[in-house]
Symmetry: C2
Subunit: 84 residues, 2 copies
């Protein structure tokens, strides 16, 4: 595997899984006061567009990375609205 | 411009600019208790790898999108550490 591909895969894993500790923190504490609602609304819409882009291009890495990001970001957005 | 390109560009603009309202909120309130430190540490490392990937591939959209994401996410990370 080329070094670029390894760096790209690692980058995708990190920027996707980064949302797991934030989701876990909100689930645990039920506190979302300092989290921006607008950030997660804009981010979730953006991820839906990334997913659409991946589907239109039939690009599996883009599809998979954005499905996971969308799951984690949607959990945070849902809890932000729930615990508002 | 093809519809995929427009959707991809819009997706990149949204997932990049999503961090602006979060950065603005933290700058305004100086409150970061509910924000996950681990999320922003992992995310910033991931963005540095995305930027490296873009530079290695000489892919300007990846480079530009990740420079902006890196600026906004780094501001949030810096303030999270500062106001901890």
């Amino acid at each position: 595997m080329m070094i670029e591909t390894i760096i790209g895969l690692l980058a995708a894993i990190l920027t996707t899984s980064a949302f797991i500790p934030q989701a876990a923190k909100v689930i645990k504490t039920k506190q979302t006061k300092d989290i921006s609602l607008f950030m997660y609304v804009i981010f979730v819409v953006g991820l839906i567009l990334w997913l659409t882009y991946g589907i239109l291009l039939i690009n599996l890495p883009i599809i998979i990375a954005n499905i996971f990001s969308l799951i984690f970001a949607s959990i945070i957005l849902y809890l932000k609205i729930k615990y508002k």
